[in-house]
Every structure is written in structure tokens, then in C-alpha cells.
Symmetry: C2
Subunit: 194 residues, 2 copies
């Protein structure tokens, strides 16, 4: 029988990671987020920092060049290699036990491999800006610019590897506005639905 | 103080109307759906059938021509008139008491006028096809064609009058897949969030 897995896609700064962790605690199942990166690092030999930059959004500077043009080995880019290790890792984690997986196109990767509840967490720009400044501090770039940039790169990555549009309601079983509903209510809804 | 209103946008055949009615019953508040059409008919002098065709999606045959080119009176099309009466009706209903309003761009119209929980209900093509055949019977056109056609017209109407894209998760507080979650769970989530 396939394991029940909650996959959480989220806009940057929406609190999707926090929601995933709290849902997992309440359900008594593991939540994988950075753990996925550690696994990939171990398997692939890439450093964690390198993977972090290439495992979820199109790496800064490289834009799509890494994925589209920087094909270093037999037509594959380094980003494609990370993708392959990421895919294997996520399939293994989902096969091991019920769990929550945050980000990393898990919804797409596990479509036929697990009994998924696919979730998208989003919030208004204002609420997210407030959150990232609180969480990651001020930077020289405005929080709005950081959010727009990150969203754009995340969406491009998702679209490139899944051929599906990011953030379309029809692609998720549940989409929630964490800015309006609040983190706790989002957690309650997901625990209730699981 | 502004009234609390649940607005339900939905893909054709997703059961959004049924969900709205059940949520309203459980909360003990009115649900407006066809009632909006009756109100508009009374105010505007148009027949109910005429309004039904123009109050939510771009009228068949006319496509956008009604809205864009068929500007009969001082630059307004008949569809624009229906829109104006619809707008007034929805604002009045939301001002009267807490309620559920199904469709008709109520989320957009009430953005600053009510304390809204904005909802989008969707489901896979297969599930919706099954539902419309059960509910409205077979037609000469395939259910898939009917669904695609209706979705397209509803999206075009929404975009034309609200300048916002229909079905984008970020535009609603909650989006639910009624095909996977089932009508009852959707009702429970919304009652819980209200």
C-alpha cells in the first residue's frame, strides 16, 4: 500500500515550512525539508550549499542557463544531476513511511508513487515581506524585490522540471492563504484533512 | 461593522454550489446563487434567462463581442448593464447580513465591502464530467467539451470584469479539490474556517 504523504509547495515567506513542521508534529510523522538536501549531498557528492542553490529554484545568476545551456556532461547540467538525486531521495523517503515533504516538486514526483495530499501555501506580498524581514533580517534589497525574485525563480524551476504551472489552484488539493487564515488555522485544516 | 461573507468561485461541475448551500445551512445564514439572478431581473427589467446567460460567463455565440463590441447604449453593452445590476445586488445582499454568495465575481466585488472568506472549488475533468452528466444529463456534446467551453467562458468573464486571473491560488483564501476531498470534507473545512 502506498504511504500517505503531505506535500507542501509554498511561496517564499508564506510560512509553508513552519506549517509543514507543525502538521508533522501533530500527526506524529517526519517532516522533510533541509533533510532532503543532506541526503542528496551524501548521495551525490555535491556540497549542501551547492544543492541548496539548485534544488528548488533556478540558481541566481545562472537563471535558466544552468538548466538549459550549461550542459556539462553528456547533455546534462549540474542542475539536472541534482534533480535526479532529489527525485530518487524523495521517492525513497515517501516509500519509507508516511511523512510531510516541503517543496522540491514533491507533489509532481510522488503523483503516482504515494497517496498524496498536495498543498500550496501562499500569502500577500505585505505579509510575506514582514515575515522574511523578521526571519532572515534586512538586506540591501527591499523585501518585495527579494520575494518577487525568489517566486520567479521557484516558478521557473517548477515549470521547467514538471511542465506544470506553479500556483494554479487546480494543481493542488488544498491551497491556503496563511496571511489571512494564520499559521495555526492552516495547520488545523491540514491535520483535519489528513 | 462589515458582514462576514463566504464567496465561492468554482469550476463548472465541481459541486461548488452544493458546498455553498450546505455551508450556509450549517452556519444558519442565507446562500445566494440563483436568487441573485431573480433580484437582477426585478431591478433591471431583463428576463431571468437573459441574465442567466450574461451574469457569470461570456454569453455563448456572442463570446466577447457582447462585452467588447456590442455596445448598444452610450458605449455600454447589455452585458455591462447586467454587470452593473449584479454589482449593486451583491453589495446590497452582503450589506444586509452574513451570507454565502456563489459565483458572480462576488470575491472581487466585495473585496472592500465585506469581511470575506474567498473560496475556489475545483476538481479534475473526469470527476466533473461524471457530475454534470448525473446532474444535467447527457447532451450531444461530450461532457469534456461542455466543461472546457464553460470554464473558458467563465474565466474570460471574470478576467474581463475584474482584471484578475481566475483559478490562481493566490487570489483566494482557500482553494479545495472537491473531487479528491469530497463535498462533505470541503463543507467541514469552510465551516471550520468561518
Amino acid at each position: 500500500m502506498k504511504n500517505r504523504v503531505i506535500t507542501i509547495s509554498r511561496q517564499f515567506g508564506s510560512g509553508g515550512r513552519t506549517i509543514g513542521k507543525e502538521v508533522a508534529v501533530k500527526l506524529g510523522i517526519p517532516c522533510y525539508d533541509h533533510e532532503v538536501i543532506e541526503e542528496i549531498a551524501e548521495k551525490s557528492g555535491f556540497t549542501k550549499e551547492y544543492i541548496e542553490k539548485r534544488s528548488e529554484d533556478v540558481a541566481r545568476g545562472s537563471w535558466l542557463t544552468g538548466a538549459l545551456f550549461g550542459r556539462e556532461y553528456a547533455g546534462y547540467s549540474a542542475q539536472d544531476y541534482v534533480w535526479k538525486f532529489q527525485r530518487d531521495t524523495i521517492l525513497e523517503l515517501a516509500a519509507k513511511s508516511p511523512c510531510v515533504i516541503v517543496g522540491r516538486c514533491a507533489d509532481y514526483l510522488l503523483k503516482d508513487e504515494a497517496d498524496c495530499l498536495t498543498v500550496f501555501i501562499h500569502a500577500d506580498m505585505d505579509k510575506r515581506a514582514e515575515r522574511i524581514v523578521k526571519q532572515y533580517g534586512e538586506r540591501s534589497e527591499s523585501p518585495e524585490k527579494r520575494l518577487k525574485d525568489k517566486d520567479k525563480r521557484r516558478a521557473a524551476y517548477y515549470q521547467f522540471y514538471t511542465d506544470t504551472q506553479w500556483g494554479i489552484a487546480g494543481n493542488y488539493h488544498v491551497s491556503l492563504d496563511s496571511g489571512v487564515l494564520g499559521i495555526e488555522k492552516c495547520v488545523d485544516v491540514l491535520v483535519g484533512l489528513y
